[in-house]
Amino acid sequence: MKATCWYGACDVRVETVPDPKILNPRDAIVKISSTAICGSDLHLYNGHIPSMAAGDILGHEFMGQIVEVGSAVKNLKVGDRVVVPFPIACGNCYFCKEELYSLCENSNPNAWMAEKLWGHSPCGIFGYSHLTGGYAGGQAEYARVPFADVGPLKIENALTDEQVLFLSDILPTGWMAAENCNIKAGDTVAVWGCGPVGQFAIKSAFLLGAERVIAIDRFPERLRMARDQGGAEVMNYEQVNVLDALKDMTGGRGPDACIDAVAMEAHSHGVMGAYDKVKQLTRLESDRPAALRQAIMACRNGGIVSIPGVYGGFVDKFPLGSLMNRSLTIKTGQTHVHRYMRPLLERIERGEIDPGFVITHRMRLDDAPQGYAMLRNKEHDCIKVVLKP
């Protein structure tokens, strides 16, 4: 089959590789009909996530048709149309039972590696480095799905791929980011980053009852989408002093909750920007947390900072004093996608959200390398790329 393989920073290639096989009784094989490139994939593409190996198959947002099931999979049959959640979860362990699926204790074959870097291991993830299992991903024609009796969501209606594909990751991720803000009537939520995750966080914040959402980015097309599709007030951080502007907009108090949908590769100017860039380049810090620092400083006293953005390791100049002295709460995590798939599918069915609006580019799987480059460089107003194998 054809698959998108990682070979190094800014080097992905579509190669012919062997077809995946059933390896465990609870596996299934999916013939992929649609798959997407995620902001998370850019962290791999830019070489910021350790433990990638040349030849790794990328992709964690995918859907398609079941073509084979393992002997222990009883709830799916060949021909079923499914969306696959990006975290791999067993459904049996303590964390799965608590619906903390991305913390599944049983799905990361390389848990030892994660334990060394992070103390404990999270779940396995498709196409997301060896730290989270080294599982072959879904930017391919076929993918093997472990614990297929737990993860994949059957789509039994006429919704199009583009309407349901993002149940695999970014829609639940935006949703959980907003849910973590514990939104009450009258709340103002600020969202850093107007990529797809930010866009869905904006939508979700309104659906969860936010009074106002303020969106921050620098790309006009992304800000436009946040305003026109999401109904957010928007702010270009290159044109205003974000902290001052947020105070001005919130009567001096600051947003009730702040969402960092930017993460480890935040872009910033000035001394701190240069500082982070050099430190990250030289591997003296693994993450560039400019947006997170700002989100913490901006948040109102006693507010919540929700971090859907992915961080890999260690950061410098973290404003812990601000966090502590002002009673802030941080909520974060890889999304517990399984928990949100069905309720969000129902919202899609009811027409409350049509997630397809973030898609700007549709390409063939063969064009994945161009898709990556375009998304990375934000060329052609690229916001979300969907690949068709």
């Binding site: 698959a3 465990n24 190996a53 040349a54 030892w112 003296l284």
Partner: protein
């Protein structure tokens, strides 16, 4: 020996005192599985066993000192001649960075030399090595630097990292005072399993099921009277074998075992099954000790598996949990991939086979 047997029958396996024991009976099996690359074993296997070999006779505290001095020297070189050193390893674009790394290197080297008994110091080094490895890995991938030299440099850092880890393990295990190398603390591992003590006990009592969750155990056969025969994989396509017997058996609570005299690797251990608080399943704890021949702490066990015994028991326990909870053990072995680069997979993969 008499004493310790008795103790273990009370379910308290003691640490074994080093004594004269037979050399391990190493069996050349000649048989290799189809996908292990053939030859003299996989690269990580060779790396691990050669590190283990070269460390056999090194006293750990001297090793720590030597490592410390090596770091200081490296640091001085990085500070004084960042460009030249950068050139030598193929990373010459950032002399300022080289200097910064050098300063860190000196500081940590001095830390190690002045406080050799503080394992935390060395662990900070291990973390530093991990960062360096990541750096070099990325530089290799970035394609901007000279790959060949970078690969060599990565190998060198990986070597130092392996030494750091080994040395730290040893210091941690022996405790701050550093005991004589003939004795060994038993290693302990535990895991919480979402299952009843009965289920956990049942799987553990069935010794023939061990190969399902013990990665390096090839087979265990019950030979009657609570005894069993073990075949365990070792690097280089070899296996070692021994006989073992159950020395204590409390249904649903505890099992203890001990190898019979003449075993290739003298070992004993016990496993306990205790209900976790709040009805959250069962805490399974294993306590084990190995006695390598001629009292060479650690090396044989490391040689046996190409990795730390502690880590191996930890991983086996996790697999035990996975098997009970999910009915299978997660794996990626046999999945597709694009063409692999040898060096990178050497850094991240850690397998005997």
């Amino acid at each position: 020996m008499e004493d310790s047997m008795q103790e273990s029958q009370q379910g308290l396996p003691p640490s074994l005192r080093g004594s004269n024991r037979a050399e391990p009976r190493v069996v050349r099996s000649g048989r290799r599985s189809a996908n292990d690359g053939g030859g003299n074993g996989t690269q990580p296997e060779r790396l691990a066993s050669s590190v283990a070999d070269s460390l056999k006779n090194i006293d750990e505290k001297r090793l720590a000192q030597a490592l410390g001095w090596f770091r200081v020297a490296l640091g001085v070189a990085e500070v004084m001649a960042p460009r030249q050193l950068g050139k030598a390893i193929g990373f010459d674009r950032h002399p300022g960075f080289m200097r910064a790394v050098g300063l860190r290197e000196i500081a940590s080297g001095i830390g190690i030399i002045t406080q050799p008994q503080q394992p935390e110091r060395l662990w900070s080094r291990v973390a530093g090595d991990a960062v360096d490895l990541a750096l070099l890995g990325v530089a290799i991938n970035s394609g901007r630097s000279h790959r060949g030299r970078l690969v060599a440099a990565t190998a060198a850092v990986a070597g130092v990292a392996a030494l750091d880890i080994y040395c730290n393990r040893q210091l941690s295990r022996h405790g701050a005072s550093g005991s004589d190398s003939g004795s060994q603390q038993p290693l302990r591992e535990r895991v919480t399993v979402t299952a009843s003590p009965e289920e956990c006990y049942r799987l553990w009592r069935n010794v023939e099921s061990f190969p399902r969750f013990m990665r390096y155990v090839e087979s265990v056969q019950e030979t009657g009277g609570g005894q069993s025969h073990w075949r365990v994989k070792a690097p280089g396509g070899t296996t070692v074998e021994w006989d073992s017997k159950i020395t204590a058996d409390e249904t649903n609570r505890m099992l203890a075992w001990e190898s019979l005299p003449g075993a290739a690797i003298d070992n004993r251990g016990c496993v306990r099954f205790e209900p976790a608080p709040g009805g959250r399943g069962t805490i399974v704890s294993v306590e084990m000790s190995y006695a390598p021949p001629a009292g060479r702490t650690g090396t044989i066990a490391a040689k046996l598996t190409g990795e730390e015994p502690q880590q191996r028991v930890h991983d086996d326990l996790r697999r035990f949990k996975q098997l009970i909870e999910t009915g299978e053990i997660p794996t990626t072995e046999g999945q597709p991939a694009g063409r692999r680069g040898a060096v990178l997979s050497l850094l991240w993969k850690r397998r005997v086979e």
